[in-house]
Amino acid sequence: MRTVTYSQAGLEAVMEEMQKDDKTIHLSTNAPAALTDSFGTSRVRATPIAEGGFTGIALGAAGSGFRPIVNWSMVTFSFVAMDQIVNQVSKIHYMFGGQAKFPITFRTSCGGGGRMAAQHSQNPYSMFMNLAGLKMILPSTPYDLKGLLKSAIREDNPVISFEAGNMYAFEGEIPEEEYTLPLGEAHILREGTDVTVVTLGRMLHDTLPAAEILDKEGVSVEIIDPRTLVPMDVDTIRASVQKTGRLVIVDAAGATAGATAEIATAATEHAETFAAMKAPVKRICAFNVPIPYSPTLEDHVFPDADKILAGIREVLA
């Protein structure tokens, strides 16, 4: 094993896959030097700041035999390309009867905790989950980012990688040898018997300390990271809730029509899982407000270990 940052893990995934397949190309408003040095400016394009344009260009290149990797930078900027994402990328394979493949990976950083204020602190993945035709990953560690991103790049469908913007310097271990992580498989980080906590993205790192505290109190917490939002591994979540009888969901996005609502429903609409539940589902989410700038305000809006701890205690009571 070796230690790399979240940022490095993402770069390694892209480098390795670009090395492997000369049909992979990279489009972003700032071309990473590591990529241009290795693959040249033909395959690694610095684009104008025109997200709609280069998102559509990636789609057309994908439909013409290439495997583009697009970095929108902050998810904020993906909204500039919304027509292409919603009307074209997500529907094109289906609308044309499956006659061509569109393998594209969109990388983007999600927000929160960086004092970046409303436009640059968003976690809008549930908006995209509602569109049929897009897969999406939400990596919470360097290990997950590298393994999932490599699978995303190899995938013959559009995949969005929602990465944690305030985690790029976060360090973690990855194997020396090559590895990938499959899309659609949740990760049980910690086995437990009293309560299931499903955490999304960077919230894992606030959930782990809460679980440690509860462990010392004799409460056994099972932590699940879905890793992939579409397709969602509902089987693993349901099996866990059937075992523990309790479900807490933690997300740095707002609760309204969120991924958390989808996860809660996956449990409660399933008869066997519902029958095993001993307490109502508890969601610990960001408040539904545009994210404010000042530290006292921003910190109040997002979940943290204390809020997660309190929420878990609520379902145990």
Partner: protein
């Protein structure tokens, strides 16, 4: 005249095939066998034909919501097109697309598109692919005057010129953006003038003269194949019918404007020209029209005899397996 007689007759055949196919599509839409919406290209056939007859099968194009003409000109199969309009399982998109979403990737036709300007970035990506492949292929974006006012046009053409992509941007200026006169929504008389803002050639051509369109297409395509970058071609043309087919279509365009353009029908003009130049006889033309009418009837028969998709097919193709 550089084009062979055979080539010219083929162009006339393509134009007339588009015309006849759409006349029937309109009829069947009104009759109820075709659903949703049908946008006819009638009156603009010289544009798709003039451009596509200068392309190779491995060159790629993208179309608009008014897409039948581009499909046929690029060589799409009438049976599968009509079956798609009829919503049948044998259609190009297995009944999932309809008139606004016909594509045939095997002949480089990357699809009709229901979003004005939506296809322009996509086909520019095909231009990027062509440049990376380095085999001399080009890509053509068809769009209307309305799309030239939209962001994707400007973003795409800027990127294509900055990267010298082998692109041909073909503006079909039919003077009307749906029911709004184009001149009220842009200050320029000529959309081709916009090319100057991107440092590329902008050419104006009579979009109802198929040979003229073909000639400017050849020049732009040669430039693109030579790695010199994109061109913008503005084809001045006119849609003979209303924006969409309707049972009782209300046309708010000035009657004298419509009448003047009907006089300049691209098929009548070209057929008369070919007869005058003795490339064909009246009789040849009549025979060709009959053959085409039969092909369209065959396509209708194919569509009518094809099954509707199984309802469960609705759940297939969300993702590639």
């Amino acid at each position: 005249m550089a084009l062979s007689a055979e080539k010219q007759l083929e162009m006339l055949r393509t134009m007339q095939t588009i015309r006849r196919f759409e006349e029937r599509a309109s009829e069947d839409y009104i009759g109820g066998a075709i659903y949703g919406v049908v946008h006819c290209y009638i009156g603009e056939e010289a544009v798709a034909t003039g451009i596509c007859s200068a392309l190779n099968i491995d060159d790629r194009i993208i179309s608009t919501h008014r897409g039948h003409g581009h499909c046929i000109a690029k060589g799409a199969d009438l049976n599968r097109m009509m079956a798609e309009l009829y919503g049948r399982a044998t259609g190009y998109c297995k009944g999932k697309g309809g008139s606004m979403h016909i594509a045939d990737f095997s002949i480089g036709m990357l699809g009709a598109n229901g979003i004005v300007a939506g296809g322009i970035p996509i086909v520019t990506g095909a231009g990027l692919a062509a440049q990376l492949e380095g085999k001399g292929q080009v890509a053509v974006s068809f769009f209307g005057d309305g799309a030239s006012n939209a962001g994707p046009f400007h973003e795409s053409i800027n990127i294509a010129s900055a990267w010298k992509l082998p692109m041909i941007y073909v503006c079909e200026n039919n003077l009307w953006s749906a029911d709004t006169e184009a001149k009220g929504t842009l200050a320029l008389e000529d959309i081709a003038a916009r090319a100057a803002g991107y440092g590329i050639p902008g050419v104006i051509v009579d979009g109802n003269d198929v040979l003229a369109v073909n000639e400017v297409a050849e020049a732009a395509i040669a430039r693109a194949r030579a790695g010199e970058g994109p061109s913008l071609i503005e084809c001045k043309t006119y849609r003979q019918r209303t924006h969409t087919e309707r049972k009782e279509a209300i046309d708010n365009r000035p009657a004298e404007q419509v009448a003047a353009w009907m006089e300049r029908d691209p098929i009548k003009l070209f057929a008369a020209d070919l007869i005058e130049r003795e490339v064909m006889t009246e009789e040849d033309w009549k025979k060709m029209e009959e053959e085409i009418a039969q092909e369209v009837l065959d396509a209708v028969k194919f569509a009518e005899e094809s099954p509707f998709p199984d309802p469960e097919e609705a759940l297939v193709d969300v993702f590639a397996e």
